[in-house]
């Protein structure tokens, strides 16, 4: 396994990551010797309603991207339903810029199991799966071993630690599809089908895995639950800002001196994270822009980055905290080339189900590739913006929005770069009446 950790930075708030750097951190004995399963033990003394209330109090919001309040999501499951209830972990981690769930699973895997058990108790579930992207094969094998150990030591299976609670858990491999990170498409994949999203409502809490009530959250969201129970929802909430509780893992990448995964309180200043944690923009260059939470998030120009990192503040700034995938861009970054690459990604990953996304991402990819080569007119820039406007809010699932948002942001905030590319290209236009096509000089 590649080594993923750096020395802890004094400005980090080490809570979720506190076992990462222990020797044999991934072993169950290290886990048990360091408050492992203490949160779950406490949850066993609580009613499901009390567990949900504590998670609501903590203001823990989904760490996969959407930031939906976890306690509220768990409360939507009808415990009295005669159908079996399921707990599903989203370990698809494919949002460009994001590489944190990997770190949790590699260095503190039993923490994830503990979080899942707490959720299972909260909704009355006896079975769950962790859906891991196919590329993370080493983590699938790793989690298979972790789960086997958990069964052996009585933390999974029948009558867990004599509590009367049963829970079965298994890994499920993906096979290369970003769309399967979308909750309903993930559930389709879990059922052995193409990763097309489902119409919502109904939401997974009512109709989820195998059509049964399901809680589906990101790896990091479940992994935060043990501390919410053990240290209390109020403690967790107070670490962050109002309605944005706790800490989160930030994946800083791009043009910085010290890229890495850092744990920060919700509300830490974004520029401080870049300059202090990541050592500032590399090669002595100036900051141009930051993509705050994965490629789906509207880019923020350098002047817009002096803000607290929480869901609400990023929302107010016209972007999103998202998946925590913070990509830093220096002054030499070619924004046209960047957007062209981002659209190539969305066009490839579009599941093809709905017209605005399937056609829209394809057009955007083609036009942007052409503009990146300097071929086109200024009208094409407006066309790109219009396509994005017409995709946004009109697609069957958020992938269309995820493509539209960065397009609108980059085209509007860096329009001059698009125009400059068009002006600087010399085109040889052949004589009228000849059969040759225009050629770039």
């Amino acid at each position: 396994m590649e080594h993923l950790l750096h020395e802890p930075h004094p400005l980090e708030t080490i809570l979720l990551s506190r076992r990462f750097r222990l020797e044999n951190s991934a072993s169950i004995d290290t886990f048990l010797a360091n408050e492992g399963f203490d949160g779950f033990r406490q949850a066993l003394t609580m009613t499901p309603e009390e567990i949900v209330a504590e998670v609501k109090l903590s203001n823990l919001r989904g760490r996969g991207g959407a930031g939906f309040p976890a306690g509220m999501k768990w409360s939507f499951v009808d415990r009295k339903s005669p159908k079996p209830k399921y707990v599903v972990v989203n370990a698809d981690e494919s949002e460009p810029g994001t590489c944190k769930d990997r770190v949790i699973l590699q260095y503190d895997p039993f923490r994830l199991i503990e979080g899942v058990l707490i959720a299972a108790r909260a909704i009355g579930s006896e079975r769950g799966w962790i859906y891991i992207r196919g590329e993370y094969r080493y983590l699938i094998e790793h989690m298979n071993a972790v789960i086997a150990t958990a069964y052996e030591r009585g933390w999974l299976g029948k009558n867990i630690q004599g509590s009367g609670m049963n829970f079965d858990f298994a890994t499920q491999s993906g096979a290369g599809a970003y769309e399967c990170g979308e909750e309903s498409a993930l559930l389709e994949s879990l059922e052995g089908k193409r990763g097309n999203p489902r119409l919502k409502p109904p939401f997974p809490a009512q109709v989820g895995a195998f059509q049964c009530p399901t809680v589906l959250n990101n790896v990091e969201t479940y992994s935060a639950a043990p501390d919410v129970i053990l240290k209390g929802g109020q403690y967790y909430a107070d670490l962050g800002t109002p309605r944005n509780g706790g800490t989160r893992l930030l994946c800083i990448s791009g043009h910085v001196n010290r890229p890495g995964v850092y744990e920060v309180r919700l509300g830490m200043n974004m520029l401080q994270a870049v300059n202090e944690l990541a050592g500032g923009v590399w090669k002595g260059r100036k900051l141009k822009a930051i993509i705050p939470g994965g490629s789906s998030c509207p880019v923020l120009t350098a002047g817009e980055c002096d803000i607290p990192m929480d869901y609400d503040s990023l929302g107010k700034a016209g972007s999103m905290l998202g998946s925590g995938g913070m990509v830093v861009l220096d002054e030499t970054t070619d924004m046209v080339k960047l957007l062209s690459r981002i659209m190539k990604f969305y066009a490839h990953e579009s599941c093809g189900w709905c017209i605005p996304c399937r056609e829209g991402t394809t057009w955007l990819k083609k036009i942007l590739a052409r503009l990146d080569g300097g071929i086109g007119s200024v009208n094409d820039i407006d066309t790109v913006d219009q396509i994005a406007v017409n995709m946004f809010g009109h697609t069957f699932c958020p992938l269309g929005d995820a493509a539209a948002m960065p397009t609108m942001a980059i085209v509007r905030k860096f329009r001059q770069e698009f125009e400059a590319k068009l002006q600087s290209t010399q085109v040889f236009v052949p004589e009228p009446g000849t059969r040759s096509l225009p050629v770039l000089k």
Binding site: E2, D168, K193, C251, S295
Partner: protein, 163 residues
């Protein structure tokens, strides 16, 4: 079709993980693990899995077409996947890709004559903070440089040369 005892054991265990009657959920994991052993998703493999899970072959085919890690023809012994998505593009991923294509003399999803290598330009592999990153099969290589890639290729070639 028979698989290795290890794979058969894995499949048997997999089928226990689903609610009664919902074993179709095993399609994608079965396909990707079987592909490792068989080399590709052959028509024979499609029929085998369809039969084992009691579904129609079209239900297997439609899944194979959707997921990018499933392929119908064999790849190289070392399938080099180079990410050129944003974090890697910003730190040299595209240069790595172009170098790899030139060095091996093949393009995207192509295999070298000797079957040793294949190349694929991939989307984000989840190694952004350690970019640029590649995968050789399932194995990750972080902080890649052109020199390290050359060394990787060299090491593979040296290992297969008769002594």
């Amino acid at each position: 079709m028979t698989f290795s005892p290890e794979l058969e054991a894995r499949f048997a265990k997999m089928l226990e993980n689903y609610p009664p009657g919902r074993q179709k959920g095993a399609v994608i994991p079965m396909l990707i693990y079987a592909q490792d052993e068989v080399g590709a998703v052959t028509p024979e493999l499609v029929l085998e899995i369809a039969q084992r899970l009691a579904v129609k072959p079209i239900e297997i085919d439609e899944v194979v077409e959707f997921y990018s890690m499933l392929h119908r023809t064999p790849l190289g012994k070392h399938h080099i996947q180079i990410c050129t998505n944003i974090a890697c593009q910003l730190t040299g991923g595209e240069e790595l890709w172009q170098h790899a294509c030139k060095k091996l003399g093949i393009g995207n999803k192509q295999v070298t004559e000797d079957g040793l290598f294949s190349l694929e330009e991939v989307e984000c592999v989840g190694a952004c903070s350690w970019a640029p990153a590649i995968q050789d099969g399932y194995e990750y290589h972080h902080h890649m440089t052109i020199e390290k890639l050359d060394q990787l290729i060299e090491d593979v070639r040296r290992a297969v040369k008769p002594q």
